[in-house]
């Protein structure tokens, strides 16, 4: 465990050592906040509503997707481009662990970002959060993060075999925006596409977070969270195998190195 934290810290340094603390704050919080504001204002006009709670909640969840998807999802891709993938592949280290180490600190940061994004967003758009249990809200975020991490792990394995990771990650980030119910009610989507909402992470966390605002059914709330965790676990298990398969495929097709 200590080794894990050490490696995670080194990975974090690799990622962020080039920028100063101020830049880091700007990059990791201001930019997401502006995105959040953009969607809330859009919602206020297009749905002609004053109750923006739903959008503030949904979009604060989306804040974490970028960090998570790009930090974990691009793990192998990045190493390939810098020629460091060799050392990782030939060593006995678990390749899954490498991705998790890379995502560990970014994931913590994104939990904090979601939480503060929600608070600040609420203040700006007059969402009353005094009535909800903030600890419960935080817990929902953590569950959401958990399944996002599993999902991003799954994505990362493609970094071993394709050169189009940027495209894939951006595509997936947008799919999440559309299908997680953060901005449009899922019920408005065509029936067949609603399936996508069911299999991606976040949908259920967003739904349960929204439940905190109305009166809610405890049974349904707990059930949603359990389902979200299950989605996460399924993605972890799939990733474990997919990363192995991707590694083998990469060795066969010589896609490990770009030169």
């Amino acid at each position: 465990m200590k080794r894990f934290i050490n490696q995670a810290w080194l990975s974090f340094k690799i990622r962020y050592a080039a920028i100063s603390f101020e830049e880091f704050l700007l990059l990791e919080s201001l930019y997401p906040l502006i995105t959040l504001a953009f969607y809330c204002i859009l919602a206020a006009y297009s749905f002609n509503t004053n109750n923006l709670a739903k959008w503030v909640v949904g979009n604060s969840f989306l804040l974490c997707t970028n960090i998570c998807i790009f930090a974990l999802g691009s793990a192998f891709d990045e190493e390939r481009y810098t020629g460091r993938i060799r050392s990782i592949i030939i060593s006995p280290v678990s390749k899954l662990l490498i991705v998790l180490e890379k995502g560990f600190f970014p994931a913590i940061i994104s939990v904090i970002t979601v939480f503060f994004g929600f608070m600040i967003g609420s203040l700006i758009f007059n969402v009353d959060f005094t009535s909800i249990n903030l600890w419960l809200f935080l817990f929902v975020i953590i569950v959401g993060m958990f399944s996002m991490t599993g999902f991003s792990l799954f994505l990362s394995s493609f970094g071993l075999i394709t050169d189009s990771m940027h495209f894939i990650l951006n595509l997936v980030a947008n799919i999440l925006i559309i299908f997680s119910g953060a901005n449009f009610p899922i019920t408005q989507l065509p029936q067949t596409l609603q399936v996508i909402s069911k299999i991606i992470p976040l949908t259920r966390s967003i739904e349960s977070a929204n439940m905190l605002f109305g009166g809610y059914d405890t049974y349904k709330f707990v059930w949603l969270l359990l389902e979200e965790m299950l989605v996460g676990i399924i993605f972890y298990v799939i990733s474990y195998f997919v990363i192995k398969i991707a590694e083998k495929t990469a060795k066969k097709n010589a896609t490990l190195e770009l030169f």
Binding site: I14, A17, R86, I90, K251
Partner: protein, 324 residues
Amino acid sequence: MQNLIELKDLKREFVITKGWIKRKKEIVKAVDGISFEVKKGEIFGLLGQNGAGKTTIIKMLITLLAPSSGTCKVLGYNTYGEEKEFRDKINFIFGGEMGVYKRLSARDNLKYFANLYYMDEAKANKQIDKLLELVDLKNKADVLVETFSKGMVQRLQIARGLINDPEIIFMDEPTIGLDPLGAKILRNIIRKLKTDGKTIMLTTHYLYEADELCDRIAIINNGHLVALGTPQELRNIISGMNTIEIVLEKVTNETIDVIEKLESVRSVEKADTDKGIKLIIKYLEDADISGNILNSLSGLKILSFNQKELTLEDVYIKLVEASR
């Protein structure tokens, strides 16, 4: 002695797709049926032209690439499929500036790589200090690698490649980018590794380096094995001749006759040069005839006297050209 590396009829093909709209597939046979073994404790050299297939062979050995067919075994295990069994016993040093974390210090880099081998912390720290000393980066240990020169990065790569104290070390052009002193330090490290009982496979384009270091050398061209043997054996393939070049102010035909009649001398050529008259004398390799030649030249003014051994470069060029 034990064979640590075993290649049998090893092949690797690459499929290249050309064109954007109209796709054309082309197959490159990078390694096309190569067999050899490397014994424990050997320094084994791979020589060959650009694109000969050296790096491809090394990549298959270090589990980065799956063979298309044939056997590729390290420590008795298949490098594709049984990687797990020997991963912690091998490592590699590749030339060039890729492959380290520029935004970490040298020490942090090595810590990161040590953790890839699940080394325990105390042992890792000890090893890191030892290696930093070995590659002469001790006083730069805590500086970001970003600020390193090419040669310094290269020395860090060497330390990286030794982090897990491997049994077998694969080196692909390890001295590329090093200054003469750095290259010499590396050659000394390689020799020291050999005395520690390590096995080394290396590629290089510097033939004198291969000659100096390697116990055995394989020459490869177009994915085929052209020749294999000790540096001396390779020389013998080409010819058993050595050469002496003498430049004289003037020389008579009688003197040349005398030299030609010496035992072991096979031919004497005469050439006029700016500096004087050059005699090129070819003789059987094992003979020691310089004393006799000097005797027959007594009284003449010798401007220069050069005993030339066949270099590995001569051998290499002949073999590669012949194999075309």
